[in-house]
């Protein structure tokens, strides 16, 4: 260690320049090669069976996410102007290079299959925009009597009609997103309001606003941290050095990512916030130590002060950095690649921060001199009175502390059971945001903006021409829509056959049902192919008629609504399996749900792994197993309470909040490590246990408090984010830091107190 310190103090400039050179290189890499990934499919583990199945079903039935553009005319849509706009908008969308012509559905493109006394008529609702009131009336009548269009393309109150453009997974870009929004805008006038919704738009808005929000929040977080750092360190130089450590580690982490050609994902944008929160800790502890040293040795040279700081503090700084890194590296257990990368590069950033703290800070102090405004204090003032008071109080109320801790854990465990996972994208927005308002509007007027694809499959060919199978599908559809509140509409091959049967019986309502004969079903389907657009058919059934895609439209995209629909569909499993038909699921709504489950599963795995590794590491570092367990107590309480609070406050786990536990452990463990290390050292110089506690509290306790205050202040900034999940993240991390801090100086101190003296 001494040679290392000598080396640092001897060659400050070359070291500084070396660090700067690497930083400049990585900074250039970062600015030149950083790539933002907005395609959410990139997040999905492609080899997971649920995703593989969904992908193949999506390819088979041409299942794509739809952009929904709704045109509203409060006076009704059946007038030349509105119908003209629908036609023009349809054509404009068909012209876009990202959209295939056949993937645009509107009143203008829809097939109108109607029955007459003598036969069957397949027409479009209109080709030329109708001017006469007779024609307008007849269109209105045709729509009203066509269940495949009414309430699907035209709202029940006839004031809104939708144009749906389905797009492939790979075409979405920020430019396309803005193009669509601008196109819709250009159709607005005094009588017409346009609304744009649908999964691609929600995802696009998030991909657009998420990083934008982080870009806005990060500088504010940094500013707040600068202020709080300055207030706690009361020194410009140390504040700047601490801050530089953080900034350098962020540049190194992002620069390395760019250099290795790894894209930035939405979750990666949280990395700077993490590194800021973690990186300041090392600096605070180092300067805290130096400050206390200078109080005792006012005459010490800067070389002595720096040597003492590094010699005494390298161990806890290294230990905390390693344990924190372990917490993040354990995210590799996740099946989700962006989260793996997030874990890996945050861990790298943490190690970089450690390197800077132990190299850059001493070197910086050598160059810029030690802080000057430290005043020597008398022996009586050596310990802050508060440190003594707290230690005394805790040690006098050991039982109370334990009881309270157990109680808090109990409450936490109780709350944990109420935690639910939310895969909703919409819930990430404010209730009064445009996107949510639009979605609500369309959901009010139509079946729902979220689609669940139920994939039914049988071994035998032509299974979906069998009346029993089709009738069961129809029954299930009716049941799901009737019994699940948020299920608004459904659509399948059964609807085609019911419609055909009705139409072929002169539009008599009593024939709006599945025919009893297999052959008649087959013949209706042949007839549909001859008269309608057969491509529509291949979106609900395959060529061999042994796989069918049943759509259920849902008015909410949160996991609770989706699960309610899934449960209702699954209740038909036995009935379908009696007919040798299997039920599976596909589509973006379903994969998002599976995805969130995977995230949670990954989180729990990583949490358990982290906890075990940390216990082992602490046991090794302090050469005692019991210390490992004692050190894990505050973070365990933090984790349990964190989930418990989420459960009790009805905050759902989402892709963002699920990362909380790792963050909490990663940061919280630092407090424990510093505290234990100082407690160990204080045991050597102090006899009675109260003064050991007081000395520890005065040294590490103080630094931990500063650290907690800085981090909490920084994260509280996030509560002003426009994104509810970022706000939850800010509030919960702040809360976790508080819990960790309190846990460390209370229950952990009590446990250390009860333990025998250790080395």
């Amino acid at each position: 260690m001494n040679t290392f310190i000598k080396f640092l103090t001897k060659y400050p400039w070359p070291i500084l320049l070396g660090i700067l050179a690497v930083t400049v290189f990585l900074f250039i890499e970062m600015s030149a090669n950083s790539r933002m990934e907005t395609d959410l499919d990139e997040y999905m583990p492609q080899d997971h069976p649920a995703f593989v199945y969904s992908d193949s079903a999506e390819a088979m039935f041409n299942i794509k996410d739809g952009i929904i553009i709704a045109i509203e005319n409060k006076d009704g849509i059946y007038n030349p102007q509105t119908l003209g706009k629908i036609k023009k908008l349809t054509e404009d969308l068909q012209q876009m290079k990202q959209i295939e012509k056949g993937d645009v559905t509107s009143l203008y493109t829809a097939d109108n299959i109607i029955g007459t006394e003598t036969g069957l008529d397949v027409t479009s609702f209109y080709e030329e925009v109708p001017e006469s009131s007779d024609k307008l009336k007849s269109i209105r009548q045709s729509v009203r009597t066509n269940e495949m269009v009414y309430e699907r393309i035209v709202s029940e109150d006839e004031t809104v009609s939708v144009v749906i453009a389905e797009i492939g997974d790979d075409v979405f870009s920020m430019e396309f997103y803005h193009e669509i929004l601008d196109l819709a805008d250009s159709y607005e006038n005094a009588n017409h309001t346009l609304y744009v919704a649908g999964t691609p738009i929600v995802e696009g808005t998030m991909a657009y606003l998420g990083p934008k929000d982080m870009k806005k929040m990060v500088p504010i977080v940094i500013l707040v941290i600068i202020i709080v750092l300055y207030v706690t360190l009361r020194n410009t130089k140390t504040t700047i050095l601490t801050l530089l450590v953080v900034i350098l580690s962020v540049i190194w982490a992002f620069g390395l990512m760019a250099w290795l050609g790894i894209s930035i994902y939405a979750v990666t944008t949280m990395m700077p916030v993490m590194l800021i929160a973690i990186g300041v800790a090392d600096g605070i502890h180092l300067f805290n130590h130096m400050y206390l040293y200078l109080q005792e040795h006012p005459e010490a040279s800067r070389k002595d002060a720096i040597s003492d700081m590094v010699r005494n503090m390298w161990k806890p700084v290294a230990m905390t950095s390693v344990t924190t890194s372990v917490g993040f590296v354990s995210l590799l257990a996740s099946e989700v690649y962006p989260i793996k990368y997030f874990g890996l590069f945050t861990a790298f950033g943490v190690m970089a921060a450690m390197f800077f703290s132990l190299v850059f800070i001493p070197v910086g102090l050598m160059i810029f001199n030690k802080p000057k405004n430290v005043k020597a204090k008398g022996e009586s003032e050596k310990h802050h009175p508060l440190a003594h008071k707290i230690s005394k109080w805790v040690l006098q109320h050991k039982i109370l502390v334990v009881v309270l801790s157990v109680l808090i854990i109990g409450i936490g465990i109780y709350g944990t059971q109420k935690v639910w996972i939310n895969s909703s994208f919409l819930d990430k927005f404010e209730d009064d945001s445009d996107i949510v308002q639009t979605d609500n509007f369309i959901n009010k007027k139509f079946g729902g903006t979220t689609t669940l694809n139920v994939i039914l499959s049988a071994e035998r060919k032509d299974a979906f021409k069998e009346p029993e199978v089709l009738k069961l599908m129809s029954k299930m559809q009716g049941d799901v829509v009737a019994s699940v509140k948020d299920a608004g509409n459904s659509f399948s091959l059964a609807d085609y056959l019911e419609r055909m049967n009705k139409v072929m019986h002169a539009d008599k309502e009593e024939y709006n049902r599945i025919p009893d004969s297999h052959n008649l079903n087959a013949q209706y389907l042949l007839l549909y192919e001859m008269s309608g657009d057969p491509d529509n058919l291949w979106e609900v059934v395959n060529y061999d008629y042994n796989k069918a895609n049943l759509n259920i439209q849902i008015k909410e995209d949160d996991s609770k609504s989706l699960k309610a629909v899934l449960d209702e569909v699954r209740s038909y499993k036995d009935e379908f399996s009696d007919l040798n038909v299997d039920i599976n699921f596909a589509g973006s709504g379903y994969t998002a749900l599976v995805f969130t489950d995977l995230i949670l599963e990954g989180q729990i795995k990583s949490l358990v792994i982290t906890l075990i590794i940390i216990i082992v590491l602490l046991s090794l570092m302090f050469r005692q197993v019991s210390i490992g367990f004692i050190g894990a107590v505050p973070i365990s309480i933090t984790a349990v309470l964190s989930f418990g609070v989420m459960g009790l406050l009805n905050i759902p786990l989402s892709t963002t909040t699920a990362l909380l536990a790792s963050i909490a452990i990663g940061i919280g463990i630092d407090y424990a490590v510093h505290f234990i290390e100082r407690y160990r050292i204080s045991q050597k110089t102090h006899k009675d246990r109260l003064s050991v506690a007081t000395a520890t509290m005065n040294h590490s306790g103080r630094a931990i408090l500063f650290n907690a205050v800085v981090v909490i202040a920084g994260f509280l900034v996030l509560t002003f984010s426009v994104f509810p999940p970022n706000r939850a993240l800010g509030a919960l991390v702040s809360f976790n830091m508080f819990t960790s801090f309190v846990g460390t100086i209370t229950i952990m101190l009590v446990l250390l107190h009860w333990k025998k003296k250790f080395k």
Partner: protein, 261 residues
């Protein structure tokens, strides 16, 4: 002597005419397409049509149809009976088409499981024929007067000398912005045809794979339509062909549709 002279004069005349004859060969695009449209195909036809539909994943569906059709001057009547798949057997379809471009086809369908003949009225001729890649127009319904034709060049394709004719619709908003046909010289068969959609993008290609002579009349027996945008294919094979079989004029009725085969 007179005969001989005559012969000699004929030869001279022929020699003199050669340059003019090649001029006469210099048909306009319209004339070429008309020759294809009006090419003798007998007065009536009977045969078995096998239609194979192949989607982009290679899934196939096969349909067998017995087809009867007969020319009635300015109209053509056709009845088709499905032979397979079994669940649509005896489903029949009747189509009357007219030379008059203004007049829409009349169509009927008979579903044996329903036991009723129904009229189908479809307002567009650009409907695809039974879920295939052929529209009714592609199957030869489109009258030459509906397009303007231009001879682009002459070239040899698959060993056949062809005229290459470009046809543009006269009406607005037709499903094809343009078609280009490779017509075999003297045989007046469209060997190959490329279709371009409303936006001018390449949409489909038709290839005639085989044709045979029956009673001196050429009949296309194997053709393939490939929609390149959807990568969907339709293969049509025509066999057991009888031309001028003497199908009764009264055959094309709703009653006959219900009789089955």
């Amino acid at each position: 002597m007179l005969r001989k002279n005559l012969k000699f004069r004929n030869i001279i005349l022929l020699l003199l005419l050669i340059p003019f004859m090649s001029n006469a060969q210099n048909l306009t695009g319209k004339e070429i397409i008309e020759k294809v449209y009006y090419r003798d195909d007998g007065d009536d036809r009977r045969g078995k049509l096998t239609m194979t539909l192949i989607n982009s994943r290679g899934d196939q569906r096969v349909r067998e149809i017995k087809q009867f059709d007969k020319d009635f001057g300015k109209e053509e009547k056709k009845i088709m009976f499905f032979l397979s798949p079994a669940d649509v057997r005896n489903t029949s379809f009747m189509n009357w088409s007219y030379d008059d471009p203004a007049k829409d086809d009349d169509q009927w369908i008979y579903l044996p499981a329903l036991g009723k003949v129904k009229r189908i009225s479809s307002d567009s001729k650009d409907d695809y024929f039974m879920g295939s890649d052929f529209t009714y127009d592609d199957l030869g319904d489109r009258h030459p007067d509906e397009d303007t034709h231009k001879l682009l060049r002459e070239e040899t394709v698959d060993g056949e000398e062809c005229y290459v004719v470009e046809s543009m619709p006269k009406e607005d908003g037709y499903m094809y912005s343009k078609t280009v046909t490779w017509v075999i010289k003297d045989k007046w068969i469209g060997l190959q045809k490329k279709f371009y959609d409303e936006d001018g993008d390449y949409l489909k290609i038709l290839n005639v794979k085989d044709y045979k002579k029956y009673d001196g009349i050429l009949v296309i027996t194997h053709s393939e339509m490939h929609n390149v945008q959807k990568d969907h294919k339709t293969v049509m094979k025509y066999k057991d062909i009888e031309l001028n079989a003497g199908i009764d004029s009264g055959y094309f009725t709703e009653r006959m549709m219900t009789r089955g085969l």
